[in-house]
C-alpha cells in the first residue's frame, strides 16, 4: 500500500476558554491519498474548519492540538520548524478560505499578489513570473487575464476574486489544497461554476483536495469520498455514491432526509427534520454524542458506551453501535396533506416600481443639484398572490426581491404602481401611515436570526409587546397569548424568560415566526427565513412555518434563492432578475419545460444530490450591476439561448399561456419546450 499524502492519527484539538478546555475535534483519523478528493461535511461547530487549521498548524491563540498526529508526506507536522513550515504552507499545502475579499490584500494588484507566490516559493521573478501568473488566471477561467492581472481586488467581482484565490493557491503547484467553504456568499449560478472549476482542477493538476462544507450536495459534486462529522468526531466515512444512496449512520440519513429533494413537493415528500439541536461541546451526551437526537437510539445501549468507528464493507467506516441492525438506505416518504383550495386574491401587484436614489460618489455628490444616480430595484412587477397559498419570489442577490418585501410591508414607499391588499392600495402607504388593522394583517419574518430579536429584552416580553400594540390586549391576556404561541411553535414556555443570546439560531427563528403570527395576520412575508440556519434545523423551521400557515390559513409570501425549498413550499413562483419579473407560474409550470432561460440556468446551477458527477454547464458570468442594467432583455449578457440583436435592443413582451404561465422572452414558448426537452434527453 502506498504512503498516503495526508494522514490524521487520532487528532484531538481543544480551545482554551473561560470554562476550561473545550474539545472541538475529538480523535479524528483520516487518510487522503495522492490525487484523491475528500469531502468533510458537517454543521456549524462540528470542528471541520478546526481540522483544516490543525493540518496547517495554524490554530488561533487559544487552540491546541491535545492528542494525535498530523502526517503530511510521511512527516509529523509537529516536528517541523517554523521556517520550514513557512515553506510548506503555500508550496505543498495551499488553502482557500470562505471570504475571498479578505484573503486578498486590497492595496496590491492581483498581479503583484500572484507573482509574490512564485517569488517566495520558487524565486521566479520578472516576465517569467508574470507569464505563469497570467496562464494560471486563464486556467481558472478568468475571461480577461491581462486586465485582471493589473486590477485591484475591489475592481473584480466576488466570483472572480474566489477564482483568483484558487489561482494563487495553485500557482506553486501544491500537493494538497484545503478548501474551507469556498463558495459561501456567492450566488447560485456563480457558485455552480466555481464548484465546477474546483472539480476540474483536482483532475487536471492531480492535486489532492480536502473540501470542507456544510453542503452535502456541493461536496458530492467534487469529492470521491465523504467524511461526515458530528460534534467533533467523524461519524461516517465512505465513497460518495455509497454515502448518498445508502447512508448508514442515523445522522447522515437525517442530513440527507432534511434536504428537499429537487423533484419533490410538500405533498409527495414532506421534510423530516432531525429533532433537537447540535450540542455545545460541554453538553455532549454520555455514550453516543448523537443519541439524544437519534430515532434509532436504544436505552441502555447507546447512552451506555461511546461507539467506536468500525469498518463497514469496503472503504467505509461508521460510528454507530446499531449499524449492523439498521437497514442502509434513504428513508421512505410520508405523504403530507394537500392545502385547502384557494379562494380569491390576497395581494395583487400591478406594475409596481421602486427606484433608489444614490448620491454620486466623489466631489460631484457635494453639489446640491447633482443628478442623483438611480437604481431601479423593482421594475413594473405584476403578479397576484392567491389567498391562503404560498407565493415564492426567487432570484439571486440584487434582483430586487427583498426590496419588494420592504415595499409591501411599508418599510419603503413605491415609486409607481399599485399593491392591492383587501381593497386598499398599499404601494404609497408607509408603516407610519398604516392603521393598526393594516399593520396587524400584514407581518414579516426576517432573514437573520441574530438581528431579528432585540438582544436587550426577554423574548416573551417582545412578543407580548406585539400583542399589546396590534391587538390591544391587557396584561393577563397578553401572557396567555404568549403561552399559546409558544405551544404552537413547540418551544417550552420557560424560554419566554430568556434573552435572545441564550437561544440557538433555530429557536430565535421560531420566535420570530411566533412574533409574525401574534395578530393572526392574513398575509406573512418571509424573507429567506431559513437560509442562515444549519441544515438539520432548517427543515424543522420550514415545516413549522408551513404548519402555522396552514393552521391560520395565512397567505405566505416566501422570498428565497433556494429553488429546492421554493419548489417544496410554494404554490406559485415568481422568478426575478435585475428588478424585473422573468417568469410567473404555478410551481409545476415553472419547474417543468418551457422554462425561461434564466430559470433554466438557476435550475442547472442548483446543487443536487441525485446526479452524482454529471455536471451540465450552468451559465457563466455574473449579474450585471443594477446601476448600469443591460438594454433590452436584462438577461441577454449571460443568456445561453440568446437569439440575436433583438435581445439586446428590445425588451421582450410577456407571453401568456391559457393556464396562466407567463414569461418574458423573445423565444416562443413552444420553441423553448422543444429546445429544453432536447437538452435533457
Amino acid at each position: 500500500m502506498t504512503e498516503p499524502l495526508l494522514q490524521l492519527d487520532g487528532l484531538s484539538v481543544s480551545y482554551r476558554t473561560r470554562r476550561g478546555p473545550v474539545p472541538a475535534v475529538v480523535d479524528v483519523s483520516l487518510r487522503l491519498n495522492r490525487g484523491e478528493s475528500l469531502g468533510l461535511v458537517g454543521e456549524s461547530g462540528c470542528g471541520k474548519s478546526t481540522i483544516a487549521f490543525a493540518i496547517m498548524r495554524w490554530l488561533a491563540g487559544r487552540g491546541q492540538i491535545v492528542g494525535g498526529r498530523v502526517l503530511f508526506e510521511g512527516r509529523d507536522m509537529a516536528g517541523i520548524s517554523r521556517e520550514e513550515l513557512r515553506r510548506i504552507r503555500g508550496k505543498r499545502i495551499a488553502m482557500v478560505f470562505q471570504e475571498a475579499m479578505s484573503a486578498l490584500n486590497p492595496c496590491l494588484t492581483i498581479g503583484a499578489q500572484l507573482t509574490e507566490v512564485l517569488k517566495f516559493h520558487e524565486n521566479v521573478v520578472g516576465p517569467g513570473a508574470e507569464r505563469r501568473a497570467k496562464d494560471m488566471l486563464a486556467e481558472v477561467r478568468i475571461p480577461d487575464p491581462d486586465r485582471v492581472f493589473r486590477a485591484f481586488p475591489h475592481e473584480i467581482s466576488g466570483g472572480q476574486q474566489q477564482r483568483v484565490v484558487i489561482a494563487m493557491a495553485l500557482l506553486a503547484n501544491p500537493a494538497l489544497l484545503l478548501l474551507d467553504e469556498p463558495t459561501t456568499g456567492l450566488d447560485v449560478t456563480v457558485e455552480a461554476s466555481v464548484v465546477r472549476l474546483i472539480a476540474e482542477i483536482s483532475r487536471r493538476f492531480g492535486t489532492s483536495l480536502l473540501y470542507i462544507s456544510h453542503n452535502l450536495a456541493l461536496i458530492s459534486r467534487v469529492c470521491e469520498r465523504i467524511a461526515v462529522m458530528y460534534a467533533g468526531e467523524i461519524v461516517e466515512e465512505g465513497p460518495t455514491r455509497r454515502i448518498l444512496t445508502a447512508p448508514i449512520h442515523p445522522y447522515t440519513r437525517g442530513l440527507i432526509r432534511c434536504l428537499p429533494e429537487s423533484g419533490a413537493d410538500k405533498i409527495a415528500r414532506p421534510l423530516s427534520p432531525i429533532p433537537g439541536q447540535i450540542p455545545a461541546p460541554w453538553e455532549r451526551a454520555a455514550g453516543c454524542f448523537f443519541q439524544p437526537r437519534c430515532g434509532y437510539a436504544r436505552d441502555g445501549l447507546c447512552d451506555a458506551s461511546h461507539p467506536p468507528l468500525i469498518g463497514y464493507g469496503k472503504g467505509s467506516t461508521v460510528r454507530c453501535l446499531r449499524a449492523s441492525e439498521i437497514e442502509p438506505g434513504r428513508i421512505d416518504a410520508v405523504a403530507g396533506e394537500a392545502p385547502p383550495a384557494a379562494d380569491g386574491v390576497a395581494v395583487s401587484v400591478d406594475r409596481l416600481s421602486k427606484d433608489y436614489r444614490l448620491t454620486p460618489p466623489g466631489l460631484r455628490g457635494l453639489l446640491p443639484f447633482a443628478d442623483p444616480l438611480r437604481i431601479r430595484a423593482n421594475d413594473h412587477l405584476t403578479f397576484n398572490a392567491a389567498s391562503g397559498r404560498t407565493l415564492a419570489i426567487v432570484g439571486e442577490s440584487g434582483c430586487g426581491k427583498s426590496t419588494f418585501a420592504r415595499v409591501l410591508t411599508g418599510l419603503e414607499r413605491a415609486t409607481g404602481g399599485r399593491i392591492e391588499v383587501a381593497g386598499t392600495d398599499l404601494a404609497q402607504l408607509s408603516v407610519i401611515d398604516r392603521s393598526r388593522e393594516q399593520l396587524r394583517a400584514l407581518q414579516m419574518v426576517f432573514q437573520n436570526p441574530d438581528e431579528t430579536l432585540n438582544p436587550s429584552y426577554r423574548v416573551g416580553r417582545q412578543i407580548a409587546r406585539v400583542a399589546s400594540r396590534l391587538l390591544g390586549l391587557g396584561r393577563r391576556e397578553r401572557a396567555q397569548r404568549v403561552r399559546d404561541l409558544f405551544a404552537e411553535i413547540r418551544l417550552p414556555a420557560g424560554i419566554a424568560d430568556r434573552k435572545p443570546r441564550h437561544l440557538s439560531g433555530g429557536q430565535k427563528q421560531r420566535i420570530a415566526i411566533a412574533r409574525a403570527f401574534v395578530g393572526n395576520p392574513e398575509i406573512v412575508v418571509a424573507d429567506e427565513p431559513v437560509s442562515a440556519l444549519d441544515v438539520s434545523v432548517r427543515a424543522a423551521v420550514t415545516q413549522l412555518l408551513m404548519e402555522i400557515q396552514r393552521a391560520h390559513g395565512t397567505t405566505l409570501i416566501l422570498i428565497s434563492h433556494d429553488l429546492a425549498l421554493v419548489r417544496y413550499v410554494a404554490d406559485t413562483v415568481v422568478v426575478m432578475y435585475l428588478g424585473q419579473v422573468m417568469e410567473v407560474g404555478t410551481t409545476s409550470q415553472v419547474f417543468s419545460a418551457p422554462h425561461h432561460p434564466y430559470t433554466e440556468a438557476l435550475l442547472a446551477a442548483q446543487p443536487k444530490l441525485e446526479d452524482d458527477r454529471g455536471l451540465h454547464a450552468p451559465v457563466e458570468g455574473e449579474t450585471p450591476s443594477p446601476l448600469d442594467p443591460p438594454q433590452g432583455c436584462p438577461f441577454h449578457t449571460r443568456c445561453p439561448r440568446k437569439v440575436g440583436t433583438i435581445c439586446e435592443i428590445s425588451r421582450p413582451s410577456e407571453q401568456v399561456t391559457p393556464a396562466g404561465h407567463r414569461m418574458a422572452c423573445h423565444i416562443p414558448m413552444d420553441e423553448l419546450v422543444r429546445a429544453q426537452e432536447r437538452a435533457t434527453t
Partner: protein, 286 residues
C-alpha cells in the same frame, strides 16, 4: 463559535473582574476617591478653610501639636484636608457634567442617526462647527461671559462635549437602525421615541459606557483646567484646579502646594481611563 457557546449563562460580575486586572485597578482608584469624598468630614484632619500655619511644610505641626501631613498653603490651610474636600467638588461636578453632556449628545445623536436626511445634515454640521472651535477658548468665552459658577461649568462642558457624543451615537445608530428588530418595531406601529430609546439605545450601550468612562476623565481634567484658569468653582470652595492655580507663585519654593493636588487629579483621571480600558478589553474578549 456556535450558537450553543453563546447559550451559556451570563458571566458573573466576579468572573468578569477576574478576567481584567486593569478594570480592578481602575475601580479601586475610583472607589478610593469616592470613599474619601463621602467620608471627608470624618477623615479630614482640619476644616478645609481653617487658617493654620501659612506655608507649613509637609509633616509640620500646628502650634497645638496637630500634624499637617502634606503641609499648608499660603493662607495656612491644610493641603491634605483641602484635597480631601476637593474630591467632593470634582466627584460632584465631573459626573454631573458628563451626564448633562450625555443627555444632550445621545438625544441628538439618536435623532440624527435615525432620521437622516436634512436633520442629520443640520445637526452634524452644527457639531462640526462646535468641534472645530478650540475647546479651551470656548470654555473661557462662555465662563467669562456668564461668570464662574458650578452651573456655568455644567453648561460649558455640555456644549463642548455633546457634539462628540452625538457623533459617536449617530455612528452606532446608523448601524443599528438597519436591524430587523427595528423594522419589526416599525411594523407594529411604534412611535419614533419608543424606537429610539427602547429599541435602539439599550443596544448602543457597549461603546457608550466605555466612552463615558473616558469622558469622565477628560471632564475631570477640564474642571481642573478651569479651576487653574480661575474660571472654576469660586473660592474659597476647595477645588484641585484652583489649588494648583494658587500655588503658581510659590511652586519653586514650596512645591508641596502644587504636587499633591496634581497627583490627586492625575490619579483620578488614571482611574477613569483604566476602567474604560478594562471595559473595552472585556468587550473585545470573545
Amino acid at each position: 463559535m456556535t450558537d450553543a457557546t453563546k447559550a451559556q449563562t451570563t458571566p458573573t460580575l466576579r468572573s468578569l473582574l477576574a478576567e481584567s486586572p486593569i478594570l480592578i485597578a481602575g475601580l479601586s482608584i475610583l472607589g478610593f476617591w469616592l470613599m474619601v469624598a463621602i467620608l471627608a468630614p470624618w477623615i479630614a484632619p482640619f476644616r478645609p478653610n481653617e487658617n493654620l500655619v501659612p506655608m507649613a511644610l509637609p509633616g509640620q505641626r500646628t502650634p497645638d501639636g496637630r500634624l499637617m501631613l502634606l503641609g499648608a498653603d499660603h493662607l495656612g490651610r491644610d493641603v491634605l484636608s483641602r484635597i480631601i474636600y476637593g474630591g467632593r467638588t470634582v466627584l460632584t461636578y465631573a459626573p454631573l457634567a458628563t451626564l448633562c453632556a450625555y443627555s444632550v449628545g445621545v438625544t441628538l445623536g439618536l435623532i440624527a442617526g435615525y432620521k437622516g436626511r436634512w436633520i442629520d445634515e443640520l445637526l452634524s454640521r452644527f457639531a462640526d462647527l462646535v468641534l472645530a472651535f478650540p475647546v479651551i477658548v470656548l470654555y473661557i468665552v462662555i465662563i467669562q461671559k456668564f461668570g464662574a459658577s458650578g452651573l456655568n461649568i455644567l453648561i460649558a462642558v455640555t456644549l463642548a462635549s455633546s457634539p462628540g457624543i452625538m457623533r459617536l451615537v449617530r455612528g452606532v445608530v446608523l448601524d443599528l437602525r438597519t436591524r430587523a428588530y427595528v423594522s419589526a418595531a416599525q411594523m407594529r406601529g411604534e412611535s419614533t421615541f419608543y424606537i429610539l430609546f427602547v429599541e435602539i439605545l439599550p443596544n448602543a450601550r457597549g461603546p457608550l459606557i466605555v466612552d463615558a468612562c473616558l469622558r469622565l476623565g477628560y471632564v475631570t481634567i477640564t474642571i481642573g483646567t478651569l479651576g487653574f484658569l480661575g474660571l472654576g468653582i469660586p473660592p474659597p470652595t476647595p477645588d484641585w484646579g484652583s489649588m494648583i492655580n494658587e500655588s503658581r507663585h510659590f511652586a519653586l519654593v514650596f512645591p508641596h502646594m502644587a504636587v499633591f493636588p496634581c497627583l490627586a487629579v492625575s490619579s483620578l483621571v488614571l482611574g477613569f481611563n483604566l476602567i474604560a480600558d478594562g471595559l473595552r478589553e472585556l468587550s473585545l474578549a470573545d
